[in-house]
Subunit: 281 residues, 2 copies
């Protein structure tokens, strides 16, 4: 998307809205922006990126390698506190824990998310690549469908996050928006930030949970709350749009898994994630 002024890593909506301020060693103040809400909740990927930024400050390594988040209660826009704990520091990897907290009407702390994560240095990895994974098959960017290609999709509640993203979905996975879901647990699309900021390891934590849920294409409506999401960042992403493919193979017993993979413009698998979510009732 052509932009008059393209935002950069460090100076963008995403960076401002995921900023954290160190109040004390390991304790950070944050403000959950209403700009990243979807349906009835603050987007889980946005929150993960915010926790990821706090851990990048708290740990001696700056790049998330594997981040596991348990979502405990629904976050709301407004002030929040992140408490971090350094679990282990090593030469190539460090491990940390973080909790996102908000306050209820009586001023009592309510924990929203708890995270365990290993951080490292992506630029220090070897160049060996031995992969059998291939990028997802989807139409070129121009033939995928963005927010300007039709009426807003029938998502109940907020869709503020859509203004922050440059999301173009594979036409094969947007049947849900016109009342004709494919019945397949697949969602694919091109992903960018609306202000043109390129991807970095922290924004990948947003990317893995930013597409509409596969449950829409399975014919289910409503919120699909994440119980747990683990993301692996495998490579620093190259500039340019990302491709994201999400797959659900097993919707059973009221739960489903969502597997996401993210590919960069150089055809490298830059992130993988899996979440366990509750199916809409």
């Amino acid at each position: 998307m052509a932009q008059a002024v393209q935002a950069t890593i460090g100076d963008s909506e995403f960076d401002r809205d995921t900023a954290v301020t160190r109040r004390a060693p390991g304790v950070y103040d944050a403000e959950l922006s209403a700009g990243w809400t979807i349906i009835q909740a603050v987007n889980g990927g946005y929150l993960l990126a915010l926790l990821g930024r706090a851990l990048a400050d708290a740990l001696p390594h700056s790049d998330p390698f594997t981040v596991s988040a348990h979502y405990l209660s629904a976050s709301v826009p407004g002030p929040a506190v992140i408490r971090t704990d350094v679990v282990r520091t090593g030469r190539t990897l460090s491990t940390g824990q973080a909790s996102l907290l908000q306050y209820d009407e009586n001023g009592a702390e309510v924990e929203r998310i708890r995270v365990l994560a290993a951080y490292g240095d992506l630029d220090g990895l070897t160049d060996d690549v031995h992969t059998s994974a291939v990028p997802p098959r989807m139409p070129p960017y121009e033939r995928c469908l963005g927010a300007s290609d039709g009426p807003p999709p029938p998502v109940p509640g907020s869709s503020a996050i859509l203004d922050r993203l440059n999301l173009r979905l594979d036409p094969a996975t947007v049947g849900w928006a016109v009342g004709a879901p494919s019945g397949k647990g697949e969602m694919r699309g091109w992903f960018g930030l609306a202000d043109g900021r390129d991807a970095d390891p922290l924004s990948l934590l947003l990317t893995v949970d930013a597409l509409p849920p596969t449950s829409f294409e399975l014919g289910l409506k409503g919120w699909t709350p994440t119980v747990e999401l683990t993301a692996h960042v495998r490579c620093r992403p190259a500039p340019g749009p990302l491709r994201v493919a999400i797959t659900t193979r097993n919707l059973a017993g009221g739960f489903l898994e969502e597997d996401a993979e993210v590919w960069d413009s150089r055809d490298r698998l830059v992130a993988q994630s899996r979440q366990l979510a509750k199916a809409p009732r």
Copy 2:
């Protein structure tokens, strides 16, 4: 495998070797058995089951739904302590944290593994199943290869765990044992416990990390230490042997992911897991 006396859930090698004794609220004593070691380490799945048993006691729900483990240092056979923390209790899910600790030669605590997990009641799930996943294609049990079908595989170090398992590998994924790895990141096999104990949700935490690593079939030798492993238990397994398929799609930068799926005798996908591991050097 016909057994003179078949062990049962609650009275088996696995149950005895994963027993934990509550010393104080949330604190458990355990003994890491040398019977579950492989190459140079205590098996990570065995350790996960041990932590899982402590959490099942500490939390109001008894079945692991999603368990994320970060492996911090190599466990050794001998005494250990597990400290648990109840993070949140809910009607259908409870979340807990646990740490496995051992002591160094100076008596200082060394943390081995830290876990975040959500527990629930598998028997309380709805019966709806909408899955596109199909069981892995592999030869029938009789035509897969067990420990009695040839010389012990050329694994350096301990292979004590093989005596505890009734593992029969798909011949298509055992090339590594005769110096002819397939080059594909695949490992498949039938899985049971050697004493005939049937599977339950806790033993599934062992099952997801009990096959030889896919890196063997990718032509790499040596230990593939787990950085992080997340397992989802989706269904209580039926009696009978399990089928396990492990896939690696991306070996890059010195790391690889291993995706495992476990199917029961009723053709249900009972567990999924993904781990990030360091490739052997």
